[in-house]
Symmetry: D2
Subunit: 258 residues, 4 copies
């Protein structure tokens, strides 16, 4: 591809600004860390945060975004519905979306999945996580070993209440006894969506080379292609003429029933 | 099962009340026709319509509903969001949902699918439709022949912009040149969802014995079972104590960021 | 259902006959144990073993079997190909098949999956296994809690080289660090197939009430239904007559190319 | 990719050599036609036919093949099992496979699918086929319009007895009343498989630019990647030592039961 894929990394950006301990891990913010390794991979990367006007996700920014990365945790309810609707519309049009960690409960993920907030088990105990590749032929697993090991992470456990994924790429093992579908894909409209579990703010997960490798692969996988457009049914001579074709009815009725 | 499955048939109930030609086809309304053959099949059936208070779908009605059937066409925008949210919550809890015909564009279907209104080709020309069974081992196809033929129907054509279905049971052929995934299933939370295409109001489709057979099968398939509940992760001694566990952080922060 | 589902439980029946320690666990054989709890659940149950003529799976036995259960471990290569072909054909016709534990590497499972023998990690260390329900609305999970705990089992770990399952019902956690898709479904022809991981011969796994519950559910789920039959394309007048229609060509050619 | 994907186009090569009418359509054989447009697309292309020693598919040829294309129709039974096994093994290792038209009934396709020969409706009447894109975000649909129209083709109709596809990219409409899942994908081991319906020998289908476009896309999609390899479970100290660990048992037993 002669043109670099354009990525916008969105972050809630609260933990890093409110807590010295988190800032010590991510001095440039989680978005800064992610943007850094994506630039190194050759992508055209920008960032946006909750604090900016329209959370940094104006129509103009989204139209110049091929793949959006989303990290949010404690402030899902602070994201304006109008911005969520705008992101949603862009996904349906073909923009890729990579949702990280607790973004599973974000407004945009729940809107795309059709689910609500009862979602999973969780425990914050700094335990070991091993992500096993279960779909070795998947583009997102390209170049990995058979597993990714993280010494300390927050636990997310099944039952994870999500729609049946298009593909399951990773399943996690946790020291405390749980498993989790940690890398799952969806298609919504023309947009590819990848949910990737790791990345609790208390741990330097996004500095892990394998985690970075997955996100770099996922951006390439999610980038939009030249895609067939839906055409409307041509108006043909009706085979059996109707007294009240719906298109007439609806036109006439909106006055009556509105 | 000793207890009959409890079905509520919901209908927009506008075409039948506004147009004599449609009333001639469905003198008791589309809901009346569907309720009739479901009662004959042994289900415990009630009806509800747009015109009733809360559209007839109060919390109490929904809690006593195992499977909800949805027919709507021209007045999706007249359905109150609060009722849609209530139906949505019940589906996630395990209530079955059967969405008919133009219900594909209803608020509840779009909320469950995560899609918007750009959805499909269509043409109202009274053309022939043949629904081919493509999953003969599926419970919804039990007892059918290899196809269902309808002499006159509205056309819906691909590309149908929907999430990848869990199962595809029927694919339709239309005289004018289109195909359509006409019977598709989803799971959302604990709820089973079946979308079934046929049933334009201008044609006596719900009097067709094969169409009735499919809906009778689908009710049985969608009825909720005793289902595992998600438990929360037990609080264990943290393996690596954290300075700012999120559950403390979130508790403390809501004051600060709200 | 007025007629009980007819189950045949097939077992290799070697460990129990060769080793006193295993016979102490399963004095009536693994097949005897499984047949016992299936009878208690109301099914019409028979058993068959490797040692019988045609391994006890004659054409007649298979034609009177609705659901076949398969346990094999060390002697997959001793199962005659003709019997495997016969079982395969019956699955395609609609007989249900439940493959247990190391049956993943049996000839019949590999024939149905299209895979070979490079399949998974494994370790025999008597470690703890927890099977988490990941599809709570699935009929096979009906009536379970969110997990099944087994104190001691053989480990099977990902990457498990299988076709993408139709449904994933269980994912296992193992004490030693692995995860595994432990309950997966397939459809082949008209036959429903369920693979269920637990059941190493050294442990009394099939005496576990939850494991029994899963197998009882799976038999109900896999039992064949009245299913649509494929019809051949009617011979119509050709729209564009061909010089060499294939059906003529093939008829004529078999002599020439054979 | 700096290195061109290496494609081998395999053809039964009988119709073209036996019938003047078919040779008039494909003077260089179907394989010659397909090899031509794949070379134009920049791939490194070779051909192989049934008539060559080992059907042109020696171990050496297959090891230097990234994607194999398969066209066969009347002589599936003439393909040697040893060659089929070799191709099968290479698919499991990661070689891509594109099966065209009546290759659905080839030995290799049936071996990968786990199905037998009862497969579909068909009719040879030179009727019109329209292939509708049903997954516009799929890499194989990149750059297409919403449909491909072929004036004259053989009809294949549902019910098509295949395993549930990973993805369905195209569904066909036929003038005579049938539909068909015409472009479907599978993964087997590490290999990507694409079945694409069109291409009856009596019609110049492989000269159609859209059909060529699909095959060019499919080669890119099916080409192998650097893929995670499965590792064996490390031998750990058994948590509960067993009297007869299976690895010992099996080692000892093969003498006894063989």
């Amino acid at each position: 591809m002669s043109q670099a894929v354009r990525v916008t990394v969105w972050n809630e950006n609260l933990h890093e600004t409110m807590f010295e301990e988190i800032r010590a891990i991510y001095p440039e913010g989680i978005h800064g860390c992610i943007a850094g390794f994506l630039k190194d991979a050759g992508y055209d990367v920008k960032t946006a945060t909750l604090q900016e006007a329209e959370h940094g996700l104006t129509q103009d920014v989204l139209e110049r975004t091929d793949v959006l990365i989303w990290w949010g945790h404690m402030a899902h309810h602070k994201v304006e519905d109008a911005v969520v609707d705008r992101v949603h519309q862009r996904v349906l049009e073909g923009m890729g979306l990579i949702v990280l960690h607790s973004g599973h409960a974000s407004k945009i993920m729940r809107k795309l999945c059709g689910t609500s907030s009862e979602l999973l088990r969780w425990r914050e105990a700094g335990e070991k996580e091993i992500l096993w590749v279960v779909d070795p032929a998947h583009p997102i697993a390209e170049g990995l070993k058979d597993r990714i090991e993280l010494s300390h992470e927050e636990m997310y456990g099944e039952t994870f209440i999500i729609p049946k994924p298009d593909d399951i790429v990773f399943i996690s093992w946790f020291e405390g006894g749980e498993v989790f579908r940690s890398g799952v894909t969806y298609t919504r409209g023309r947009g590819k969506v990848f949910y990737f579990r790791p990345g609790h703010e208390s741990f330097p997960t996004y500095f892990n080379k394998d985690v970075q490798h997955v996100i770099v692969n996922a951006v390439r996988w999610a980038a939009p292609r030249a895609m067939p457009q839906v055409t409307l049914g041509e108006i043909k001579e009706p085979i059996m003429p109707l007294a009240n074709p719906t298109h007439n009815v609806i036109a006439g009725l909106h006055e009556k029933i509105d």
